[in-house]
Assembly symmetry: C2
């Protein structure tokens, strides 16, 4: 078996792949920035360079970082009929006229990547059939849960895994609001206002808090998981705008937290898909998903439960999913991009001595005045700063536990050697490392 | 742009894709069962049927379910040189002679799918380069974390996401043992014995408990995440066999749990990869990963944190990952399999009335003898069984919360209608649903 080696875009891999962009809001601009900032990685991985061609916008006079004003147009045909365009990326949103534009692109054999859940949850099956009959591809990872690659996992990794349930926290705005309401007893109005102030909620939050956004995503996820066309109108939904504070307290008394869940299940060969607030047992893994995060729990006959957790929204996150789709299309066409992805970036391996951690050290010492001071001096001399200490008497000695701030293995080894040399230290000190704090 | 339409396997899509199997232990047999059990789904998704050709085994006389003894051979050349074989699946394990067999297959242009972490973590870069120079593919999802599609996510979805940290619980045996030790204060020896009795640990558990298994997986994950060849020998590792019970107690006092972590980080452009027991803050998402589950936390500049959780071992789980790789290779060759994946399986949509949940109902009632009895009768008459009740006096009335066992929406709606008609009920009852219990 030989893999197809033909680049379907162009005979010459030296020519960049030219992307026609429909829309240039937050996601579009993040996508343009990513293409330019990650150019080297993309080229190494896909064997091709990407470049942004014509861009459809509403207002061509508004300046956008890194974009030449001459690329902007208000005429969709400047993008769709441009013979130099290899691939369409749609981040303008809305059902129409967007659907008309994408149909035209697919009919012309142009691959399309879209982030549009409204469109996909209403016309996905038709657009996919059109892509297939035109011999091209439609990809839409960013249309559900932005940064979480749940669509690729469902479409490719779990294609034959007999999925019987998809349960998701698929709206970050409402999960943020619900987390604040359960945590601090905040009212719905206050939590919403806070979410708006932090940019987690739109000025008009009705799509999110009313449940329609989650319903669109669940229609898309259920369609793929169950290989059946589920339309937005097939998904009954309730939002969180009718929840009362007292139900949070009562749920807590009963051992539950309240989450807005999308629930898609196979029941006796039929499909049930819904979105509603739900009581989730405190010990359940979905209960631990807090803040603006999304999570999708996939239950299957062959792989039991898989959960994917991550950011469900955001400009760079959505742009990253769009880029992954673009690279997958190139990969499909090029065959070998996965090998290129492993091309050596030439990063050096650090010696273990250079690695930094915070450390936990437990040791037994004789119970004698000044021992703790001497141990603390050993740490100080090695340049390690102590975060907490537990000392407890044990017979004629004491057990001493020290937790440090971040420091190198080399410093810690020096401190261990010094302690081994101390006559007050009995036996071998026990060393454990702490998980590095986020961002540390 | 037109996608390649050529099937590189054979001109006729009617001919099944024939798989040569190296090894037929637990994973191999689960793979054969999956191919036969999921034949229809696979055919619909990939447009091709899969069939098992010759199988390399040690003992051809041992009967295996669903396998014709004539397929079995002890001569590797019967598999590698069979001209009817389209693709090699390797589930025999070990570094040699397996590596020699796979080199021969790749040189002959045969795509290879392997679950072999020992081999990949030592010769992965060489084998990938060989696949590329031979114009074929090497896939190895099952070599790290079995059922969790972390390799596809890293190689494809997060290819350009600037990953800077991969932190994982990548060995289920040790996570099971550590979970039992923290939960019940069980000793290491008892927890290990229990893991062995339940099939979570091998008779010789040294690869798992000593950390070598996790180190091999981290070498593979770090290589892909950082686009750099990390060899098994580059990964210092410590296991859990030296841990003391008292450190679990002390860690708990300090607000931590102990996990065996694989930690791969980019530090100042260099790579650090290690495996060691670590103190993880109780509130951290990795602390919540219990039992034999695996979890991988991916941190990146563009998508912040993504976590994937799922089964890290098991025959059907590993076989499912192998099958996903096979389908990805067919998909790459066929171009359009992703559209086929959405071909309508013709499942009916259930009406919302048919959907089952457990329910939470809160209502206000007048404080009068017999009210709870009448409400309970309404539930009973609707065929809904009550799991718990909270009643609390409020002024001249009472607040009543009822939680039911599973029942249909239709039954719940009937009960709500009956309660609305009761003169003792004030205002509109509040209805919430419970997340369905696993397996319910």
């Amino acid at each position: 078996m030989t893999l197809p080696n033909s680049s379907a875009i162009d005979g010459s891999p030296d020519r960049p792949v030219r992307i026609g962009l429909l829309g240039c809001g937050t996601v579009g601009q993040a996508f343009v920035r990513t293409i330019s900032g990650q150019g080297e990685t993309i080229a190494r991985a896909s064997g091709r360079r990407l470049e942004i061609g014509p861009i459809l916008v509403r207002d061509t006079s508004k300046p956008r970082d890194g974009i030449d004003l001459r690329q902007l147009t208000t005429d969709p045909q400047d993008v769709l009929r441009d013979p130099t365009v290899d691939l369409i990326v749609e981040v303008m949103g809305g059902v129409e006229p967007t659907g008309t534009y994408l149909r035209q692109a697919l009919q012309a054999g142009l691959p399309v990547v879209t982030a549009n859940k409204q469109l996909l949850s209403r016309h996905g099956a038709e657009l996919l059939a059109l892509a297939q009959s035109s011999g091209t591809e439609l990809r839409f990872e960013a249309s559900a849960c932005a940064g979480i690659p749940v669509i690729k996992v469902l479409r490719e990794s779990l294609l034959a895994a007999e999925i019987f349930a998809v349960t998701g926290i698929v709206n970050g705005t409402t999960n943020y609001i619900l987390s604040e309401m359960s945590r601090g007893g905040m009212s719905y109005a206050d939590a919403l206002a806070q979410a708006q102030a932090l940019g987690y909620a739109e000025a008009d939050p009705s799509e999110d808090v009313g449940g329609a956004d989650a319903a669109a995503k669940m229609a898309i996820l259920a369609s793929i998981a169950f290989h059946t066309n589920v339309h937005f109108d097939d998904v009954p939904f309730e939002g969180i705008d009718g929840l009362h504070g007292e139900d949070f307290d009562l749920a807590k008394d009963l051992g539950f937290v309240i989450k807005l869940l999308g629930v898609a299940r196979l029941v006796d060969g039929g499909i049930s898909v819904r979105v509603h607030p739900a009581l989730v047992p405190e010990s359940h893994r979905l209960a631990a998903v807090r803040g603006a995060d999304n999570a999708v729990l996939l239950e299957s006959g062959t792989v039991r439960q898989i959960m994917l957790v991550g950011p469900g929204a955001g400009g760079t996150e959505t742009a990253s999913a769009v880029l992954a789709d673009v690279l997958s299309i190139l990969g499909t066409a090029q065959g070998s991009f996965l090998q290129n992805a492993l091309a050596d970036a030439g990063r050096p391996l650090l010696s273990p001595d250079q690695t930094e951690s915070a450390f936990y050290v437990r040791l037994r010492v004789v119970d004698r005045p000044g021992v703790l001071a001497r141990i603390a001096t050993v740490f100080a001399n090695s340049g390690l700063s102590i975060r907490s200490v537990i000392q407890r008497g044990e017979g004629d000695g004491a057990r001493l536990v020290l937790v440090t701030h971040m420091g190198s293995e080399a410093r810690m080894n020096a401190a261990l050697d010094a302690m081994r040399d101390m006559e007050e230290v009995r036996g071998e000190p026990v060393l454990l490392r702490l998980l590095a704090e986020e961002g540390a």
